[in-house]
Homo-oligomer: 146 residues x 2
């Protein structure tokens, strides 16, 4: 279980420290790829395995083909240095719009990496906003047909 938001520096070599709390839960075989809303996502092996359902074949619909290409094409296995940092490739930094700072966020089963603006926009919430969204999801769950 990954919890919490951490603001970390990204140095000139593209390195970001993964919080120690997360690192100790990440076995080798962890994968980093692109995610929705312009973030990067770290998948522990067991979570990555769930995404294996997404495959190319003669009967795969166009949308899934596209998703599979983006997701797997952008993916890489994570390599930690002795300080617990991973390197974000130029490509990944560009996709996420990351320059000197990154927000590393634990989202239950995954870890996400965001730039300043996007995280402020998506992740931070005023009490009013938070209350509204919580109620919205609760409502939807109660009446899933809508």
């Amino acid at each position: 279980m990954f919890l919490g938001t951490y603001r970390h520096a990204v140095d000139s070599k593209g390195r970001v420290a993964v919080p120690a709390r997360f690192r100790e839960q990440l076995p080798t075989g962890t994968v980093i790829s692109k995610g929705a809303e312009g973030c990067l996502q770290l998948y522990p092996p067991q979570e990555w395995a769930r995404e294996q359902g997404l495959r190319l074949g003669s009967t795969t619909p166009a949308e899934e083909r596209r998703l599979a290409r983006m997701m797997f094409g952008a993916a890489r296995e994570c390599e930690f240095d002795a300080q617990g940092r991973i390197v974000l490739s130029a490509d990944q930094r560009q996709y996420a719009g990351i320059a000197n700072v990154a927000w590393v966020v634990g989202v239950n089963n995954l870890i996400e990496i965001w730039n300043d603006d996007n995280w402020r926009h998506i992740g931070e919430a005023t009490p009013e906003e938070y209350t509204r969204i919580q109620d919205q999801v609760a409502e939807r769950r109660r009446a899933p047909s809508t």
Copy 2:
């Protein structure tokens, strides 16, 4: 079962004492996160487990992605020091508007942490208000569709 309201100090390091009565009911694995109306909430493990259904994957709808990010991003596993205190992160203190004092409130299955103003506003009630709200809830239960 958590009952009662306690007014505790928050020191310069962001630490708050959890009342001893509550602490003895809290096993390891207790989680603190943001709650509705600008409070913080402490979930004992069995309560937190209910929230685990919310996961990220390539098929998670947008609203749930948003809620998951806010909720888990703001959460932390509680770590008690030898004096029975937990640390509220700067982020959590800002969300709840907590500076030097916090109200720690037992609300049956959860524990909530409030700042002065909000708690006065939400928690204290005149007899008239109390009656009105009780009737309102009773009404809704009778006709859940509204």
